[in-house]
């Protein structure tokens, strides 16, 4: 016999090994299975937590910006503001930007000769016309606190909610909160405003705040009431056919 040609040798080898089988030891699958366990699970979890966390962050941030308070109350009390400005010293520096806007605002303001700085006003959505009632309020309001507000708000724009300057707005809230409680609110006389006077203190208030924004009905989807101890309880639920509300509304 001759030496076998390479091609034949290769073919014979290949035939023997095609679909060859060798029985694996029993423990091999266990080893594989152990290393497999973490893989399918870990995938989605981080993403969900990240999403939840980012929603929570957005929520908290939006709560820290009480410009909503500004909006609500200043509709009722711009007169307060206007009279103060009339009384206060002009705060002109650095307010060129707001002066042009202030001019627009000026037109709707009737009282007083000079309205030095309505930048302060320019952060508010609505400027109610000044009435002669201003005199009533003048005596009650200290002027000093007004001074720093216009300065800080010099670059605020009208008709826009101020976002970045949180520390300023907090001052405004405090200021507003203090003075609002002394007046009777014409516009907002229901429990919601009362709750919001005190700010959002707990989950019930938070939910109320959100639901208020979304649900404009008398009887909202769900309604909490917070007592003086900062405890919330549900006082109304309106989902589909289920309508349970507090009677003395």
């Amino acid at each position: 016999m001759q030496h076998m040609p390479d091609r034949d040798f290769d073919n014979l080898f290949r035939d023997k090994f095609t679909d060859a089988e060798v029985e694996p030891s029993g423990h091999l699958w266990t080893n594989i299975a152990e290393k497999l366990t973490p893989v399918p699970k870990k995938r989605n979890f981080p993403i969900m937590w990240m999403a939840a966390a980012s929603i929570a962050v957005v929520f908290s941030v939006s709560l820290l910006l009480p410009e909503a308070d500004d909006k609500i109350y200043l509709q009722a009390n711009p007169k307060l503001v206007n009279t103060k400005i009339a009384e206060s010293l002009p705060v002109a520096q650095g307010a060129t930007q707001s002066v042009t806007r202030a001019e627009a605002v000026l037109k709707s303001v009737k009282a007083g000769p000079q309205k030095p700085l309505l930048a302060h006003q320019s952060t508010k959505k609505v400027v109610a016309p000044v009435t002669e009632e201003k005199n009533i309020f003048m005596a009650m309001q200290p002027v000093t606190t007004n001074e720093h507000l216009p300065n800080k708000k010099a670059d605020a724009k009208p008709l826009e909610v101020v976002h970045p300057q949180i520390e300023v707005l907090e001052d405004a809230t405090v200021y507003m909160a203090n003075h609002v409680s002394e007046t009777t609110d014409n516009a907002y006389d229901d429990a919601d405003a009362n709750n919001q006077k005190k700010g959002i203190r707990n989950m019930g208030d938070l939910i109320n705040y959100v639901v208020d924004k979304v649900d404009k009905r008398e009887n909202k989807l769900i309604k909490f009431s917070t007592d003086d101890d900062d405890n919330s309880s549900v006082v109304g639920i309106n989902i589909g056919f289920l309508k349970l509300n507090k009677r003395n509304k």
């Binding site: 060798v22 694996p24 080893n31 290393k35």
Partner: protein, 205 residues
């Protein structure tokens, strides 16, 4: 009574078989994509013996072969998501095993310059008789080859890689691939002949 007994036996076995062998490879593959543990195990049970045979060819011993097998299956279950159905799934799995085996070889690389003791590889004048040889014996013979020769022989002869592809994969020249293939063949033939009882008397001179 006896016919009844047989009937029971048959139904029992068919139930068992139904458990593991009913699923086609495609179904098992889809199950693995979904991360179903039972499907993964069934795929393993159905294919592991073939895959281990591949690993045994490439590895220098059973232990290394089993390591390669385990790593290979883990890769299969991880990468199954990317399998788009082009070509056969079994072929896809085999390629993963081969690549894992090559990785294992490269990791434990003894230089390709190591040659086996039987380096006088003159072509034997007697052709080996394959009809009397079983796959197991050939497996033993192939594992006697030096690592580098074994890799080249497997890739070229069984998997069908070209010398160019072998050269790129193993990081050697095409010329080295060709010469190592020749040496591998010669050594294998010698070893087979030894198995078959032919001594060194077959060598010329």
């Amino acid at each position: 009574m006896q016919p009844l007994g047989r009937y029971f036996h048959l139904t029992h076995t068919s139930k068992q078989m139904k458990a593991t062998n009913t699923y086609t490879l495609i179904e098992l593959m889809e199950g693995c994509k979904a991360g179903n543990r039972q499907m993964q195990e069934m795929l393993y049970r159905q294919t592991a013996s073939k895959m281990l045979a591949i690993c045994m060819r490439y590895a220098k011993d059973r232990m290394e072969a089993e390591d390669v097998l385990q790593v290979g299956y883990i890769k299969v279950f991880e990468k199954v998501q990317d399998f788009k159905g082009e070509g056969s799934f079994e072929g896809w799995m085999k390629r993963i095993m081969v690549n894992t085996a090559i990785e294992s070889y490269r990791k434990n690389l003894r230089t390709l310059n190591v040659v086996s003791i039987d380096d006088n590889y003159e072509q034997p004048s007697v052709a080996p008789d394959f009809s009397r040889l079983g796959m197991q014996e050939l497996m033993k013979v192939i594992q006697k080859l030096a690592d580098g020769y074994r890799m080249v022989f497997n890739m070229y002869v069984i998997e069908g890689y070209s010398h160019k592809e072998i050269a790129e994969t193993l990081g050697i020249s095409e010329g080295a691939s060709k010469s190592q293939l020749s040496r591998a063949r010669a050594i294998l033939q010698q070893e087979i002949l030894k198995l078959e009882g032919f001594g060194y008397a077959t060598h010329a001179g």
